[in-house]
Amino acid sequence: MKKKFFKPSVLENVKSHYCPGCGHGIIHRIIAQIVEELGIRDRTVGVCSVGCSVVAYKYWDFDCAESAHGRGLAVATGVKRCNPQLVVFTYQGDGDLASIGLAETIHAANRGENLTCIFVNNTCYGMTGGQMAPTTLVGQKTSTTPWGRNPKKGDGWPLKICEMLSLLEGVCFLARTSLYNPKQILLTSNCIKKAFQNQLQNKGFSLVEVLSPCPTIWQKEPQEALKWIEEEMVKSFPLGVIKDV
């Protein structure tokens, strides 16, 4: 029998600091596996941004830089433009990419920077204790929306990054995927792989938004958290390939 599931060599043998049921571990593993499959470990540079995944570099066996909050795509732009032989990706959460770093996100995308961007959307600021994120659902309770996010009281609506970026000419690939069952994990893996392959083919800016569980902040059991993504989160954030040129 052929062995189908294994630990990628690019994934480090370290203890996870993530909470039980967190999606980061799965996405880290997917990236490690793709870097291994594509044979690009020797020329990959990851840019880790501020949030729970700021130390993502501990889990990968390739070069990484840590960026200031929201500035991942600016840092990645500098790295890639100076050394186009490198395969450069950013790994960013919703607070980082969609709030404080929104200008960097839109402009890197609009310039068509030949980069891969992994956007982990868990609807909250996990590391700082679960405040409202730009992607928090309407009605969702967080530590800064104790009665639920209320657009009528000025909290705004969930920010749909993929749909916004789809308007920009410089963007070649946008997909929104999730992790709520093995099939979705496989789809996520396929989309992230495509986002890396696009860069290898100099096609421009690719972004994959992954709807990822945060059971601790959502105050749900890991299984319940996955169910919540499947039943509630996808209503505001429809899954699928949004742009592919």
Binding site: R41, D42, R43, T44, V45, V47, C48, V54, V55, Y57, W60, D61, F62, D63, C64, A65, E66, S67, A68, R71, A74, V75, A76, T77, G78, V79, K80, R81, C82, N83, Q85, L86, A103, E104, I106, H107, R111
Partner: protein
Amino acid sequence: MRNKKNTHRVLITGNEAMGEASVRAGCRFYAGYPITPQNELIGYMSKRMPQVGGVFIQAESELAAINMVFGASCTGARSMTSSSSPGISLKQEGISYLAACQLPCLIINVSRGGPGLGNIASSQSDYFQSTRGGGHGDYRIIVLSPFSVQEAVDLVFLGFDLADKYRIPCMILTEAILGQMMEPVSFPDFIDVKSVSRNKDWILDGAKSRKKRIICSLFLEEGVLERHNLVLQQKYKEISNAESRAYTYKTEDANYLITGFGIQARICREAVDILRDRGIKVGLFRPITLWPFPYQELQKISSNIKRVLVVEQNYGQMLEDIKLGLPHKEVYFLGRGGGGVPTVLEIIEKMDKII
């Protein structure tokens, strides 16, 4: 000498001259955002970088520009950004990260009047911000201050060399006057870009046949950040001991000393000449490195000095360093802010009162 000067001289503005100097000094990455009075510099780089195979990016903000420089520096490229006072304030976050990660780069501040949006006239009110770190955390950057367009050119070369040597951000702090004025300049020859990219054993170039490298400034485990900070502090000590530079003029027999930095020192030098013609034994002291401040050079020339006048385009910032360097001297101050420039006449009038 690596930087052999050409005999050919060109008439050029300070902003454009610093741009050309950076290209000749091996800069191959520039990111910037428009702001007056440094716009000639970003404009010059947009033309010049593609000609030499370098990268020019007009960034969406000063925040993005300095972080693009961060990324470029991670790859070992000589990289630069430029701005003016309000824009430099925005870059401070990035400068703190560059300092923490020990990444070299050159930052040019063609400073203007503040606080706030201020105005676009010449001012020296960013001295504290530049020399005391500027962003959050315990750190310093090397700060160089030219008083002619030629010196601005020379300090661009020195700035890149020092930044690389010590793995530290380096700033040229100059003023609207120098950025905008034209002077004849001899440019040093182009240096070999490859010669400055060698031996960088910390850069991110893909972990081929080696262990992975991480460039980061987050150290959560107990004691690790403290040890990291001590490494930085040790480096700052080394720089303080080895790299302070000053310019002196007619100080050998002087009883009185005028001090100023940058373009203001040029104005002070004229006042020194006029006072000398009147028989007053006065000299000029000008720090070239604002950090590290040349305290020892100042003390060395001051044994016969009775009184000191500090002249600045602010309300007394370098004044504090002069007082630190000369705690037992009588120190007087003449300053104008908000775009005001102390004139030769004002300096002479002030000296008449002091003497």
